[in-house]
Structure formats: C-alpha cells, structure tokens
Symmetry: C2
Subunit: 542 residues, 2 copies
C-alpha cells in the first residue's frame, strides 16, 4: 500500500523558484571580481539563471552534458549553477587552486563542453586550453567593459551571452536522481575522483544544512560563505541559503582578513562558514586593529581542525563556534559541533574540549567506527576506529570508476580515524593511512603533530610510521624548524614527555628543510614516506 | 545521467534509529494517563518500539495492514507509532473527540485490524465495538496493575503484550513511498476523508519542521507538543523531535491551563505547540496566579486563528509567537509566521499585524491563490483568492476515493481563501465555501465575525451569504448573545460602522439562541444556511 501524497521530485531549481517567490527581494551582495560591491536579489538571480538555461539550451547543451565553472563566490556564479542544473546538465565546479595539469585532467575526464570562468583564471586556462578538446566555448563571467583579450576558444562575456536570451524559458523536469553537479577530490595519491551529486542529494542536503543544529542560518540571518563554491559543493550553501531565504554575502576573490572583516562588519553578517586559515587571518586582523563583530552569531569552521586558541578567541567574543567535519563525498556535511543542551553551560577548558570535537551527525548521516576487519567499535569516546558513513547525500560510487566503494552494509569509508562518545560527538584522530599501528594499538599522527608544533622552535611537524621488527610500526617525528632555529632530539621529546602516553612517544626526530604539501595545502605524507623509506629507527637497530 | 549518491530510502524508522544512536539518553517525559510523571529516553523508546513491531508481526500484521491508535500524547503512544510503521503497517490515528458513530465509520472504512487504546477511551469503544468487524484485538496502553475490566475483544495490557517479545527484531525495509500513517479529516459536510501519509512524506515533513523558521526546536531545546498525536499527524512533531534529538515533554490527558503550565514550568520547556484555546487557558491561569515562564522561547500556534490579544500577551512576555497554518492534508505544516529580518524589529500594532498573519511557506510547500476560474491572482497583500498548494508532503488523493483532487498544475485546493503579500506572508480571510460573493467581489465572513464578537453583548457570531437579486449574495450576521443580554440591529451595525468598507456591512442581523458546532468545535454553517434558507433580506425585498 502506497501513501497518497503528491509526486513532487526533489529538484534543485525548485529551490531558486521558492527563493524568488517567497524571498524574492532578499539581497545577494557580492564583492565583485571587478572590484565594486554588487547588489541583487533572489528574484533577479532566478530570472537570470533562466537566461543561462535558455542560452545553454541554444548552445546545444542537453540533459547529462557537463558544464564547468572556475569561479569565485559571486552572484553570477550562483546564477550559472541554477541555470546549468535547471536543464538537467551537470555543473562541474573546478578548483582553480589545483595544478594546471590536474585541472586539464579533470576537465578531460568530465568531458566538459562549456567552461564558465572568472577573469582571474583566464591565464591559467589559456596555458592548458590546447589540451582540452571537449571544450567548445568559454563564457567569461564579466561584462563587455571588463572583458580582457583572450585566446580562449569562442570566448564571450557572460553579460553579452545572456543578453541574447529573453528569459522566456521553463526549467526542464526530470527524475530526482538525475545528476546535478560534480566535484573532483584530489587525494594525495592516484588520479582525482569525480563525485557526482544528484538533484535529490543536493535538496536533501540543503534540508540537513538548514536544520537548527547545522549551519544555524534562518531567513532573518545574513550568511557569508567564505568557503568557495568550487570547494566541496560550497558546503551546500548555494542550496541551503535560498531554500531558507537567508540573505547572502559573497566575498568574491578577496579572502584576506581585512577584506573578510570589512564585509562581515558593513553587511552585518550573522552567520559565516569557512576553513581555519581564514578565521586565523580574520582574528589577526581584528586583534591588530582592535575591531569587533557585534552582529556575528555563528561561525562554522571545517575543512581541517580548528586550533583551540582560535576557537577560544571567537568563543570569548560571544560567537558560537560550530566545528564541522565533512568531505566532498558527503555533499559535504558530516558532523557539526553545535552544543547540545547538556553542554551549553560548560565553561573554561571543559567547554573548549567539547567545542574542539567535530560534533555529532545530523539525521540523514549515519556513522560507525570499525576496526580493520570491519567489526563495529564502541562509542565510548576513547576507542579510535575507521570512520564509515551512510546516507542519501553520501557517495555510492565515483564517476567512471567501477570499484565498489561501499561495505556490505552500504557504508562508505571516509579514510578518517575517529572516536565517538556516547552523546554522538565525534573527534577525528587521524587519517587511516597515516595512523601508526604499534603492537596492535593505534597512535594518532595528528595528536603528535599538534603537540610538536606547540614547541616555539617548530614551524611544522609531520609524523609517519616506520617499520619496526617488534612493534610493526613506530612513530618518526619530522620537523621543519622556524628560521634560524636549531633543536635537539632530547629537547623536543622532553617537551612532549608527560603530555602523551609513554608508548606514543616518537622513537626518533628528523629535521628537514621543508615539509612537502599538496596543491590544496595538505602535508604530502607519501613524499615523506618515500624520503624516509630506508630510515632505520635507533630502537629497531638495537 | 544519474547522480552517484547512495540509495537511502526515506523511512520513518530511520528517525528513531538516529535518535537512539546519537541522542539516546535525551529524555522523553510524560504525564502518564495513570497519573505520575514518567521518564524514558529515545534509546528505550526505540528498544520498545522494536518489541511492538515484533509483537505485531506475531499477530500476523503485514505490510499495508492498518493498526489504529486512540490515545493521548505519551511515550507509549510514540512507541506504537514507530513499531507500527517499522514493519510497513499503517498507523491510523483516530480522534477520540469525534462522535462515536464517526469513529465507527472511519475504523470500518480503514479496516483496522488492531486498535491501541488509552484507558480513557475504553468506554467509548465498548459502545461501538460490536459494529467493528475488522478489529481483531484491542491493546490497552497501560500495565496490568492499571488494566480495567473490559468487554473489548481479546483486550490485553500493552506492557504484558510487549513483554512477550524479546526485541530481537529488525525493521522491515521497503520503498519510501509505502504508506506509513493515515488520518481522517472530518469536514462539515459528507463522510470523513482518509489522508494517507507515506514514509517519504513524513521524513521530508520532519526536515521542514526542523528548519530554523518552522517549529524552532534544536537538540538543546525541550519541546512540549500540546497538539495531540491524533490531530493532523501531530504537526509532525513525533518525527521532527527525534530527528533533531529534541527533548520531549508529553502532556498526556490533562490539557487544562494549570496542568500545561506546571509541565512547561517544571520541565523548563523552551518550545511548545498547540491550538489557541489551550494558550488562552494557559494565559488565564498565569494571569490569575501571577506566574511566569522564563524558559519558554517559542510558542507555535495553529489549528485556528490566534486572537490578537493572546498573541500580544505572549509577545509582551518575550515569547516568540509563531502563528502557523496548515491542514491534515499537508502533514500538516503550510506556513509559519516567524518574523523575517525586515520585520523582526517592528513594535506595537505593526508588529502585531505581522504576527497575526499566518506566515510564509517553507521550502517544499508551494502556494498560489486563484479566482474561481483558476486564474492566478497577485501577491499584493490585498487580493483574496482560493489558496492552493503543492508539495511532497501534501495530499494527492484520499483513501478509497477515486476523485482527482488536484488541478491541472498539480495543486490541491485547501478550501481556504487568503491574501499573500510580496514578502510571501499569507493571511487566511475565509473558507471558500463561506466567503460572500457580492457583485463579483468577495467579503470575508471571518473578518465580519471577528469584528462582531468584539461587541460586549455578543457571545458568538456567524456570517452567511443569503441570496440577493441585485448583488447575488449579501452578508447576514447571526448572533448568539451573552446571557440575559439583548441588542438592536442598529446598535450592532453602528458598532461595526467605520471599521469595515461600507459595502461589507451586513444587510441584516439575526439573533439565535445557540450557534451550532461540529464535533471538533467549528461553527456548523451548513446548519445555519439550512435554518435561514427561506430568509429574505430587507434590502432584497425592496
């Protein structure tokens, strides 16, 4: 027996329809790439997104065709998202911070037919355009006055391009499982992998993001997403904000502390979202100039762990810090660290301990932690395990890769190692490929690194496991020192002594000139493992 | 091209699984029907709901079979919902306030096989049980110590019944469009009509209810639903609260002002939901005893229009009043009157004007207003039209009724007449069958009634349209006076003069001993129309 409710497929363009109808005058403010502040609203964004759809249709773009965007957070970028998805094409957001060769690889893998691009990134694309046979045309996200000369094929200014459409056009209707968008993850090993979101997953994720414990924005709020639209599905904000009618402030290309502060302050932003680096820059700018943000209520922070001192600084200002965790494969929200009732009155270190955790899963994200054999481990806040997730906005496969990426119960392995406590709060302790397995127990490389960088002479720290005849693996601490500093093994290990369990203590310390990183700023441990592959621990030689 | 996200059907039992796992210790507090306060939590509710599922399975209940509940808001009632739905059976909530004949009619129409019943309602059911051939067994929601003697067939105390199960049982998995629950609407004409919710619609509705602008509860909140589980799908709270991990306080059978106040106060409730009558009783109790509710933040009010004075009283206390509108066919949320940013700083009459409106539609509820011919009318805050709705948690058909109830665009006619302004705020002005059509324009019977009851001698007022040779219809004002009062036509019309447009003024006034009502307390205008069917307006005689 079926229910007798209406058949109403979950389609992304229904979100902008809702925003235009119910919250049509709500502002979308952008610091434009060209410079000035630009103001529009949801009704106009929908009107122009329909023109994008109409123009794409005229270019011959069909259901399932891929259209790339390489752009900052602006109103035009938002319009292209809804325009592309609204005819059932797939919006492929390309991260301009990748190496040019990686950009070429993913555009070719996705077989993008059209590329929408900010003026900022034209020079990058011009260098690789010859290697992109699938691309028929480049739409430059500016007007004719700001259109630079370019060798990009069939390039046209966006404003001229959509001016050719009258907007008398209707969204296409299709199954809610139709692909809406794609985003490639760039791991530290192997080729990038394409995550393909569906209309259903994007709509459900918007509902998750708008629940009271997630991003924390309602229709009376103003939300500034520092997190770029090209990063992990923009944390879903391109969908959740219009679904809620939240006023949006888009920072464009300028993400430094002063620029972000200026927008937060002048536009009276109440909720924001971004990575720890941005908040650290903001904080330094505010402290240096003795500035305040009286309107800011909620600061969402994800992408990597937020330092305790940064959390404390915002918490002391009365800003609710929500430490989040997720990944491109999760649309991306996995957990958010809103304080449940039991913890909302905590003070001091107990409060910071809780805020520093990655938070709990909202409904529609199922989590479990397991050992290497897949056996479930207890939620006791102590036992670390491989973190696996299941839900309607979580990847079930990668684009054009046949491998089955789910376990027998349908869970996806996040590659993270975490503990979860009996209130559902999760804490990331490591990446599973980086955890050090010593005598059957796991040692967190992240915890050791965080401890070591606390030493005043240390600029950056990395811990890798190296083979050991008795324990299997033991930790090696690799340090990059601050300029003109030197340090002894004993000095560093003495600093760490007493702050960790004795058997976690690194067996040795190595000093390097420079710790290698990926294009997106992560420590490249594969390179370190290669570099230290013949390293013999003093303890192993004995 | 399809998205590559996981296949994760939206099933109601996933909600209680989430609550048990992430918010397992969060309390569910009940004023039990037997008297004492009872405390449990989401983990235990899930554990016992699995026993309900296991016992139903043993009784031979299969996918699609109907199981009725006739019960107050208690932890046991919540357990039965998840237990019934968790094996794909259909939870049919019966409103005990209906006339016994209506109860018998809907149980027979639904062909319920088992009835779960509170001790309070045994005597009602004993009187009609002989006319209910489909019912095989009655489960009385109490323990053996409180089990009364009863003639109900195969009656057993709930606690004894589930004690026969060991709980080693798993939920059934099925398509998300499977029927989960049903609820009959009792209009003023014709037979009751069965609304059938699906698992998908209930889950999506829970997400709507948990968005920041809807019910306003997060995991740190305590929510007291005064609205009964048997009324309009409990406003979705049986799903939204566990999905969010919100602490629940269930009021059981005692809904008077003193009892509701006591629970709100002692359990430090932050969010509540119910009909205006309840809030009026609460207010009277608080004023009489000079009481306060410092923890209460949000009061959701729906079911009928909340009087301006009641709104003002709570608003003055600093409680955020959210005036909501919906209907059983909408799961039931249609609009909620949270204040958007533009209105949040309003004061005085302008603030009350806004709070008195029924609010705006959340994403997933589409609204339009049309004339009688179906032509869309403008959202100008002035033009009234038939209010029609579309969405995934809105009825597309009634149970075992073949009629097509949607228009060509798939919208359901709510039967209400409303205006909508350019910010999406909706105001109900009438029921479409009650609106008076005078010379092609519509006069709101509700507005006239609200005005007339403001006269100190008037106890209740009803306005109906009566035939008029020139205007088609003109309003007749029918009054029931306060005890021992009398009033002249001129006195009443003089009181109304200047407060409405001249052409809205009723053509005549009639005094009756008593205005008739339905079982659920609505004015029975069909009976008044019958009573006044030969009435000649003085203006028509001229």
């Amino acid at each position: 027996m079926h229910g007798l409710m209406q058949d109403w497929p979950l389609l992304c363009h229904r979100i902008i329809d809702h925003a235009a109808k119910v919250h049509g005058k709500r502002e979308v403010v952008t610091r434009s790439v060209e410079g000035p502040i630009h103001r529009t609203n949801y009704a106009d964004i929908r009107r122009r997104a329909l023109k994008v759809a109409q123009r794409l249709d005229r270019e011959g773009i069909k259901l399932g065709d891929r259209v790339a965007t390489i752009a900052w957070n602006t109103w035009r970028h938002l319009e292209t998202w809804y325009g592309i998805m609204g005819i059932g094409a797939v919006c492929h957001t390309v991260n301009p911070r990748l190496f040019p060769d990686q950009i070429a690889w993913i555009i070719n893998h996705a077989q993008d037919r059209i590329v929408m691009i900010d003026i900022t990134f034209i020079s990058i694309l011009e260098k690789i355009a010859g290697k992109l046979p699938s691309v028929e045309r480049y739409i430059v996200l500016t007007d004719s006055a700001h259109m630079p000369p370019t060798t990009l094929k069939n390039a046209i200014a966006y404003e001229d391009w959509i001016a050719e459409a009258d907007g008398d056009f209707a969204w296409t209707m299709f199954d809610e499982n139709t692909a809406a968008a794609m985003c490639y993850t760039s791991g530290t090993t192997g080729d990038p992998k394409g995550v393909v979101y569906s209309h259903r997953s994007n709509v459900l994720h918007a509902m998750i993001a708008n629940s009271g414990d997630a991003l924390g924005a309602a229709s009376k709020d103003t939300l500034l997403p520092v997190v770029p639209l090209f990063h992990a599905n923009s944390w879903g904000i391109a969908f959740s904000a219009p679904a809620m009618g939240t006023r949006l402030v888009m920072p464009g290309a300028r993400l430094d502390g002063a620029s972000v502060y200026e927008l937060l302050s002048t536009e009276k932003v109440t909720v924001t979202a971004g990575v720890p680096t941005v908040w650290l820059m903001l904080l330094q700018h505010m402290e240096k100039n003795n500035l305040k943000l009286p309107d800011l209520k909620v600061l969402n922070c994800g992408g990597s762990a937020m330092p305790r001192s940064t959390i404390k600084a915002f918490d002391d200002m009365g800003v609710e810090v929500r430490h989040a965790w997720g990944m491109t494969e999760m649309s991306p929200l996995g957990t958010v660290g809103a304080l449940q009732g039991e913890f909302s009155h905590l003070q001091g270190d107990a409060r910071l301990d809780r805020l520093q955790m990655q938070g709990f899963a909202p409904f529609m994200v199922e989590m479990k932690i397991t050992d290497d054999a897949g056996k479930e481990l207890p939620w006791d806040g102590k036992t670390p395990g491989r973190l696996k997730v299941r839900g309607p906005a979580i990847s079930g496969a990668y684009y054009r890769i046949k491998d089955d990426i789910l376990d027998a119960q349908g869970f996806f392995d996040t590659g993270d190692v975490a503990t979860i406590d009996d209130q559902g709060y999760m804490r990331i302790t490591d990446r599973s490929k980086d955890v050090i397995k010593s005598g059957g127990e796991w040692i967190s490389s992240i915890d050791l690194e965080n401890l070591a960088v606390g030493h005043p002479k240390v600029a950056e720290a990395a811990v890798i496991g190296v083979p050991h005849p008795k324990w299997g693996e033991r930790p090696l601490l690799i340090l990059q020192l601050r300029e003109a500093e030197s340090v002894t093994r004993e000095e560093i290990l003495g600093f760490m002594d007493g702050k960790i369990a004795g058997w976690w203590m690194p067996d040795d310390v190595a000093i390097v000139d420079s710790i290698p990183h990926t294009a997106t700023g992560k420590i490249l441990k594969t390179a370190l493992r290669e570099q230290f592959k013949d390293y013999k621990l003093p303890s192993a030689a004995a």
